[in-house]
């Protein structure tokens, strides 16, 4: 068994932009290296480059990937094809895309193997047992299309390890799985590596997942590794300013944290320039940071850790910054009529009932979180409240006024009073209108504001969501995901809503951007807006919400203050969900 040694791996675009900039790392057999990075950091490009592959338009232009005596990158095509799968194997993010939906599991696993029929069959059974799947003939004959998401990911892992590779590369294998399945997959990965003495490189955007599964951590930013070291200290006492900032933006399901966003935006891939890549967004940057290009160098205090920062030894190694958010007082007695009162709501699609007698109440200034796994009916609930989908029974009241099932049949005040912010910031703005035009639509159609007054109001709204005035002239495609989501919130605010429904508004965003959106919403709550916050993320619930309703298969199984439900869940389902939630560990005080 060999492990993997990567030296100065470089992936560039035709114009010389570096997607992966001289990355060196090594993993011993039986250990897991976690690579953390936000979108655009180059982590997926790195994961494919380890297998000697670059997407069209990009090319591997330097470095080596050694497994034992072989350099994967200098193998001839035929040998490279053989090495993939047998020496180094890959588990993709979406197993549903990687498996052929019509081939049987046996066929897909056998494709990876050579040798006699009986030997192959035995090995397949062994591997399926290792990934905790049944190995009987009935299961092997099933096609991948008939498996659940978690089972597909297990088959994906089984396909990767069936030929006994030395190295396993996993690219976000648990993104898109619910927490319970994620927990099982993570445990499986760690256990397989130890048992088979495989070296694994686990790539994720989720620091908590990496902290859980990895022995060592490499933090990636703008194509470079900025910090490497053992998982424990790197996560509890981050050294690089980017790692610090990243961790300060991560919410925690145990503590109500105030989240710190990272200002600015990660640089686009570009030919190398002088200075630290993070300097423009770094609170600790000095002039020297912009002149000198730092190298990945050992920390004086702990030589096992390497940091790419010129000030690495001047800056104290401090525990991860955590600011507790103040509790948000709600005066339930003062407002006897809740802003939103949903009672006995039922809804469904085409004969299948999705929601069963759901009751939810939102008081003035309160943030009520609706939490549930995918398929729990949480989006259906929020869409019924907004009138985007018609309920089949029950009532929805806004300030005591009964609302019609369809938004189109509601009075204008109610249509404006309930505002919906969608999950996908890429689809919620008209791509062919500038942000200013988009936000101006309600102002023009309803408030009948003319050109100048409207522009002024648009700029006020942009300012409220912390976007600069020149954003009004931009098209959505010129904004980042977080900026688009802010623009969508600004458009909702243009209607002067009573209730803001946020449907998974942060789940498509990077954590450092999520932090900014969460804090923006906190500010809106402080201004007295009421909010229905739909999410699957308990950490964000803890950070923002006052009350939480846990939804399971269309029923509210538990309802109460966030503190009570998260600290002492009464229902067994909530308890089980919370048990699998991963948080970034905190240094022992």
């Amino acid at each position: 068994m060999a492990g993997i040694q990567v030296q100065d791996l470089r992936v560039t675009l035709a114009d010389g932009s570096r997607l992966v900039d001289d990355v060196s790392l090594s993993v011993e057999p039986g250990r897991v290296l976690g690579v953390v990075g936000e979108s655009g950091s180059g982590k997926s490009t790195l994961s494919l480059a380890l297998l000697g592959y670059a997407r069209p338009g990009a090319a591997i232009t330097g470095g080596s990937v050694r497994i034992g005596d072989d350099d994967i990158l200098s193998l001839p095509p035929r040998a490279l094809r053989q090495a993939r799968g047998s020496r180094i194997a890959y588990v993709p993010q979406d197993p549903a895309m990687a498996l052929n939906p019509v081939l049987s599991i046996r066929t897909q696993l056998e494709e990876m193997l050579t040798g006699g029929k009986q030997a192959r069959r035995d090995r397949i059974r062994e591997v399926l047992a290792a990934v905790d799947l049944p190995g009987d003939d009935a299961f092997l004959a099933r096609s991948a299309g008939h498996l659940s998401g978690g089972q597909k990911q297990r088959v994906g892992i089984a396909m990767a390890i069936v030929a006994r590779p030395d190295v396993l590369v996993l690219d976000e294998p648990t993104t898109g799985l619910d927490v319970t399945t994620q927990a099982k997959v993570l445990e499986l990965v760690a256990q397989l590596c130890r048992a088979d003495q495989m070296a694994a490189i686990y790539i994720s955007h989720d620091v908590a997942v990496i902290a859980d599964v990895a022995d060592d951590v490499a933090v990636m930013y703008a194509g470079q590794l900025v910090e490497t070291g053992a998982a424990g200290p790197t996560v509890t006492d981050p050294a690089h300013p980017y790692t610090r900032a990243l961790l300060a933006s991560v919410p925690d399901s145990r503590v109500r944290l105030q989240l710190q966003a990272i200002p600015g935006r990660a640089p686009q891939p570009a030919p190398p320039w002088d200075g630290c890549r993070f300097a423009d967004r770094c609170a600790l940057a000095t002039d020297s940071c912009r002149r000198a290009t730092p190298a990945l160098t050992a920390l004086a205090a702990d030589p096992a850790r390497q940091v790419r920062c010129v000030r690495r030894d001047e800056l104290d190694v401090v525990p991860r910054a955590r600011v507790i958010a103040p509790e948000h007082p709600i005066d339930e007695a003062a407002a006897s009529i809740p802003v939103l009162d949903v009672s006995a709501l039922t809804a469904g699609y085409g004969g299948r009932q999705v929601l069963f007698d759901v009751d939810v109440r939102v008081h003035a200034g309160e943030c009520v979180a609706i939490v549930g796994e995918s398929g729990s009916g949480k989006s259906t609930l929020s869409q019924c409240v907004a009138g985007l989908q018609e309920r089949t029974g029950g009532s929805v009241r806004l300030d005591g006024e009964e609302l019609a099932p369809a938004a189109q049949r509601r009075p204008r005040a109610a249509r404006h009073g309930v505002q919906y912010v969608f999950q996908n910031p890429y689809a919620s703005l008209n791509p062919r209108a500038t942000v200013g035009e988009g936000i101006g639509v309600p102002l023009r159609s309803f408030a009948h504001l003319g050109g100048k007054v409207r522009r002024k109001r648009v700029i006020e709204l942009l300012d409220r969501v912390e976007l600069p005035a020149q954003a009004a002239e931009r098209y959505p495609s010129e904004l980042s995901g977080g900026q688009r989501q802010r623009a969508a919130i600004a458009r909702a605010l243009a209607c002067d809503p009573r209730l803001l429904i946020c449907d998974e508004v942060t789940s498509a965003l990077d954590v450092s951007v999520q932090a900014a959106v969460v804090e923006l919403l906190r500010g809106l709550l402080d201004d007295g807006l009421s909010m229905l916050f739909v999410t699957h993320n308990f950490a964000v619930v803890r950070s923002l919400a006052d009350t939480v309703a846990v939804l399971n298969r269309g029923e509210v199984v538990e309802h109460g203050s966030v503190r009570r439900v998260l600290d002492a869940p009464a229902h067994e389902y909530t308890e089980r969900l919370l048990a699998d939630v991963l948080d970034v560990p905190v240094a022992a005080a």
Binding site: P263, A407, A427, P431, R432, V441, P442, E466, A516
Partner: protein
């Protein structure tokens, strides 16, 4: 607080602040297509006002070969082919684009309304389009022309009606996913006026398929109009017209091929122009959709 800064465009990536729909014009194929069509329109327009000879006067022997100052020879009545080609384009030049644009406007309107309102509106409109599609366009046109008589506006109207259902189908297909997009759902829920949603939110997002359709429908209407003219239901002699010229001179194809080939080349170039626009636009669409 953390006012997120907008990205500063790097020096390398020059600020391309063009409206997204106009990137079609960067495609070489689309540019060539537009150039060809402009060239043919210019030829037709010049011929409308000035030609080397009177296009309706006999000035040489029938089917005289090129020479003696007649660049392309003479036709079956001894008229100058070049003059007749130049004079004979104007009808196609205004009728084909008019029919293409009219079918685009009507088809887009039907398609968008159908996709947006759905339900009964959609069913009725689309069945109506199916009925129109069921008639062979040429037969349909000939039926009316033979009853009412050949008038240019009638021809444009008939070709438009023949082309519209296809446009409506394609645009409805392209608009359906847009109607489900969040920004349209939001506007509907909030009560933004329907006219605004249809024209300002949905229509601008259909620029790409509309470009493809324009090229296609232009090609088709050139073909249909030239065919009608060939059959003799278009421009009446002694006026000149490309389709008519092919028909008039086809007996002399062996003796004086230019009298047939010259108008055919004109029709072909016009058609290829439309084809290039459609093809180039479709490629740009495929490329950009792929990136998204």
């Amino acid at each position: 607080m953390t006012a997120l800064e907008l990205p500063v465009p790097a020096a390398a990536a020059a600020p391309r602040r063009r409206r997204p729909g106009l990137r079609m014009l960067r495609s070489g194929q689309v540019r060539w297509g537009i150039a060809l069509i402009v060239l043919m329109l210019a030829l037709a327009l010049i011929g409308r006002f000035t030609t080397p000879y009177d296009p309706t006067r006999t000035i040489a022997a029938p089917f005289a070969r090129p020479g003696d100052g007649l660049l392309l020879g003479a036709d079956y009545l001894g008229r100058d082919v070049l003059s007749r080609v130049m004079a004979g384009g104007i009808n196609l030049a205004w009728m084909a684009p008019s029919a293409a644009i009219a079918s685009l406007v009507l088809g887009a309107a039907v398609g968008i309304v159908s996709a947006y309102f759905g339900g009964a509106t959609d069913a009725v409109l689309m069945r109506l389009m199916d009925v129109l599609l069921a008639f062979p366009a040429l037969l349909f046109t000939l039926l009316f022309v033979s009853v009412i008589g050949p008038s240019p506006w009638l021809l444009v109207t008939l070709v438009t009606i023949g082309l519209m259902p296809g446009v409506a189908r394609v645009i409805r297909g392209a608009a359906l996913p847009l109607v489900q997009r969040e920004f349209v759902r939001w506007s509907r829920a909030v009560g933004v006026p329907t006219g605004y949603i249809l024209t300002r939110e949905i229509l601008p997002n259909l620029v790409s398929p509309l470009m493809v359709e324009f090229g296609m429908r232009l090609m088709w209407s050139v073909g249909t109009l030239a065919s009608i003219s060939f059959i003799g239901y278009g421009i009446q002699p002694p006026e000149s017209d490309w389709g008519l010229m092919v028909s008039e001179n086809r007996n002399g194809l062996a003796a004086q091929p230019w009298a047939v080939v010259a108008p055919v080349i004109c029709i072909v170039l016009f058609t290829i122009g439309g084809n290039l626009i459609a093809e180039g636009a479709a490629r740009v669409v495929a490329r950009t959709e792929g990136v998204k």
